[in-house]
């Protein structure tokens, strides 16, 4: 598995079932660029437990606004379509892994 880039039209169906981790980011955001590779590693290690997605907030302002996102990177965990938790800003891999695992 790896982190799949998605856009607004695919969003609802992507998060509909199971545990989904969505990384809201932007190309110009430094912390997002650092978090990207960490999420890639996690998506490999947690394959089968959670699906990982990335959404560019510039390309998808509607979704970003619907979650009231005003700071990125913003990582949200969805369970069967419902948002259950959020993590704002960069965090090192062990903390990010713990954040996802406690929401499995």
């Amino acid at each position: 598995m790896s982190v799949k880039k998605i856009n607004s039209p695919e969003f609802q169906s992507a998060i509909a079932g199971g545990v989904s981790v969505v990384d809201f980011n932007a190309t110009w955001c430094g912390p997002c660029r650092m978090l990207g590779p960490v999420l890639e590693e996690l998506s490999e290690e947690m394959a089968g437990k959670a699906s990982f997605y990335a959404m560019d907030v510039d390309d998808n302002p509607d979704i970003a606004a619907s979650f009231g996102i005003n700071s990125i990177p913003y990582v949200a965990v969805f369970k069967d379509g419902q948002k259950v938790d959020e993590q704002i800003g960069f965090v090192p891999k062990p903390q990010l892994q713990a954040f996802v695992e406690r929401n499995l």
Partner: protein, 302 residues
């Protein structure tokens, strides 16, 4: 000194007080590549000290003399000081990524020796960070399209970020909280080309949330807005290094100056009292030796 962006440094040291300089000297003695980042004239806290009476071998030395000998020592060992500000340090696993302006540089280990110059957060600031409070205008500006923002700037250089934000947001209120000299030099019309920036001269006191909006309470009254940007000269270590464990206002370290993040060490005032030059220098030495053994351990593993 120009930073070599392509090459991973062994030890990146942030801060040019006694702790940082001592760490740089020890790491260089141990043949590690060193990137020493901080003020090129050594920390203000050293150079402005009236006299220091308990530094062994240097009785009654003045702060400016001690700072000069520190810099001479660095020069003798060919350790340049890179006068650049690190805005964030990211723990990437096997290495650290240091953000300097919009560039990233890599280091195997980091020694934090930035002192304790950061102020206390405003009431309500920590709780709302990322939820309406931001420290980085260039990072979060795009999320304020068609909205309003308040920017509190601690130095004139932040005015560039205010202009940048005003290109995107509908309306920006700028509150300059400068040192006296900068405040006195500030022109009456700070942003002649931006009609959507309003400058207010007052002192912020607290931050709170009201429904989905933010409120900045200041001595000139309450300002309701969509987001509050706080652009400070230095941020607390926990915000500089996401995931770093603190002990109150200080970085939590063990006797080897190791923090909770493997490969990241801290030394000097940032680790706690007593705030003494010789204690800082000693801790810088320990931190550098710990960084060296950490690097040697990394090399042994691969």
């Amino acid at each position: 000194m120009e930073i070599n962006m392509g090459k991973r440094t062994d030890v990146a040291i942030i801060g040019t007080g006694p702790a940082g300089i001592s760490a740089a000297i020890t790491a260089a003695v141990r043949n590690k590549s060193v990137l020493l980042l901080g003020s090129a004239d050594a920390s203000d806290k050293v150079s402005k000290a009236h006299s220091i009476r308990n530094y062994p071998g240097l009785p009654d030395i003045s702060g400016s003399e001690l700072a000069k000998s520190f810099l001479d020592h660095l020069e003798k060992m060919n350790i340049p000081v890179t006068d650049k500000k690190v805005t964030m340090i990211y723990a990437m696993g096997e290495y650290y990524s240091l953000q300097i302006d919009q560039e990233f540089i890599e280091a195997s280990t980091v020694i934090l020796a930035t002192g304790v110059s950061f102020g206390r957060p405003f009431p309500g600031e920590d709780e709302n960070l990322g939820r309406g409070v931001s420290y980085c205008a260039t990072c979060d500006a795009a999320l304020y399209r068609g909205k309003e923002a308040v920017v509190v700037g601690y130095a004139p250089k932040e005015e560039a970020d205010v202009r940048f934000l005003a290109e995107i947001a509908d309306r920006v209120i700028y509150i300059p909280v400068y040192k006296k000299a900068d405040a006195d030099a500030m022109p009456q019309d700070l942003f002649p080309d931006h009609s959507n920036i309003e400058v207010r001269r007052c002192r912020p006191q607290a931050i709170s949330k009201r429904e989905s909006r933010m409120v900045l309470t200041a001595d000139c009254g309450e300002i309701e807005t969509d987001g509050i940007f706080l652009l400070r000269e230095s941020v607390s270590p926990g915000k500089l290094v996401p995931g770093l464990e603190l002990d109150g206002n200080h970085v939590k370290v063990d006797r080897s100056m190791a923090t909770n993040l493997p490969g990241l060490f801290a030394a000097g005032d940032i680790t706690g009292t007593p705030y003494q030059y010789i204690k800082a220098a000693g801790e810088g030495n320990v931190a550098a030796l710990s960084a060296v053994s950490y690097i040697d351990g990394l090399a042994a593993r691969t």
